[in-house]
Amino acid sequence: MQTRTPALIDHTTGIQAQDVHAWFDRLHALRGISMTVPERKVTAVIGPSGCGKSTFLRCINRMHELVPEARVSGRVLLGQENVYDEAADPVLVRRRIGMVFQKANPFPTMSIYNNVAAGLTLAGERDRRKVEQIVEQSLRAAALWDEVKDRLHKPGTSLSGGQQQRLCIARALAVSPEVLLMDEPASALDPASTLRIEELARELANDITIVIVTHNMQQAARVSDFTGFFLDGELIEYGPTNDLFTKPRDRRTEDYITGRFG
């Protein structure tokens, strides 16, 4: 069990999506998503390819708008604040709502240490002792410290795939996010590394809010407290994971999770 890192637990909150629509040029990818993601829980988003689940994730931390011709409407509340408020700073939003992706993407020229410290340095942190402390805390929280503590200055890319993914999680945690978005974080990993990421997601949810997009239904069932099923840009069903996977209310959810389509 990794030690809790106080820096990560002093503030956290849930998310409320209110009538979120998203477009890629003229493609209407999300059609009015409203859902409340409870704080300090793991919420899974499932659905077939192209259903809008990753787009939804990228709307939460304002990454969708980085795509040329992409648009968003609606509100995403982080606590009480609308991340789409005119006064909201997208860079700050992305610091509060971190993200890890399907493929681990450590900065290729940087050491393990510098990968984790990168966000802090960008944010203007100059106190070396403090940076060292946060790097260690973040690597511990990402369940990676024991494996890398003796080679912190080796390249991040020298790690295995599973370790690289945990390095990316440590990098995201270093700036003390309130929410961590995970977009198929284990889909390129072997079963053992996958389980480590899942355990990590569960453990992190003691401190922060986790939203995980996954194609792996068993993963959603294992790791999450709540699950939302997306189809054609709509949220079809959302509820406690146990209910959704044992007695879904909507026929389309049943058909999807039992493999009858998608």
């Binding site: 239904m217 068993q218 044992t246 007695k247 049943e254 999770i257 039992t258 009858r260």
Partner: protein, 218 residues
């Protein structure tokens, strides 16, 4: 296993549960019939055939395990497999009660019964009705029929109490009858337990279809 093969296997599981249920019901019928006709050979046959029902149970259980391990079933599929798994245990126990009745028939041998058989055949008839409804409920995936079958358990319990009452009276009046009276009491107890297992199966049918897991007839 392809999706189609998986679907076929799910259907086969339900078909085989029905077949196992028919055999368990038949075993109960033949055991009570052996008592009625005092046919020790027929009772021995029921005992011998219990192995085949045990084998069906093992086979179904293994197939459920294989599907759980290889198909990662969800929702209705998961409920079906989990229910079949539980149902086969109850059906196997039901057949064990038929075996228990048959053993009582053997112990009684040709000794005269302490009273005419009235309520025990009624219990058996009631159980056969429950089995029919239960199997129809599995075939039609009909929770209403399952609840209807389970509701009949009260009648079986009532009849068993009557048997107990009558036999107590006989035993008090003439302690010489105790060993033979006890055998009939054992038979009534086996029948009452068999009906309880049918109720359990009905609970699983309701769960399989609706996702609602509740005790019926408490």
């Amino acid at each position: 296993m392809t999706r189609e093969a998986f679907e076929r296997e799910l259907h086969r599981l339900k078909d085989d549960v029905v077949q196992m249920g028919e055999r368990a019901g038949e075993a109960i019928h033949r055991a009570v019939e052996a008592l009625r006709t005092r046919d020790v050979a027929a009772a021995e046959q029921v005992i011998a055939e219990d192995d085949a029902i045990d084998a069906l149970h093992m086979d179904l259980e293994q197939r459920c395990m294989r599907l759980l391990a290889t198909q990662q079933p969800m929702a209705g599929d998961l409920r079906t497999i989990a229910s079949v798994f539980a149902i086969t245990i109850d059906l196997e126990r039901m057949a064990d009660h038929a075996e228990g009745i048959s053993r009582a028939v053997k112990r009684l041998g040709t000794e005269p019964l302490v009273k005419p058989l009235v309520d025990i055949p009624k219990m058996e008839a009631q159980i056969q009705e429950m089995v029919r409804d239960m199997l129809d409920a599995v075939r039609a995936q009909d929770p209403r029929l399952a609840r209807q079958a389970a509701a009949k358990d009260d009648v079986v319990d009532e009849l068993r109490n009557r048997v107990l009452h009558d036999l107590l009276g006989i035993m008090i009046k003439d302690p010489q009858t105790i060993p033979r009276a006890l055998e009939l009491l054992i038979v009534a107890r086996h029948l009452e337990r068999a009906a309880d297992h049918i109720t359990n199966v009905c609970e699983r049918v309701v769960y399989m279809v609706t996702g609602e897991l509740r005790e019926l007839n408490v």
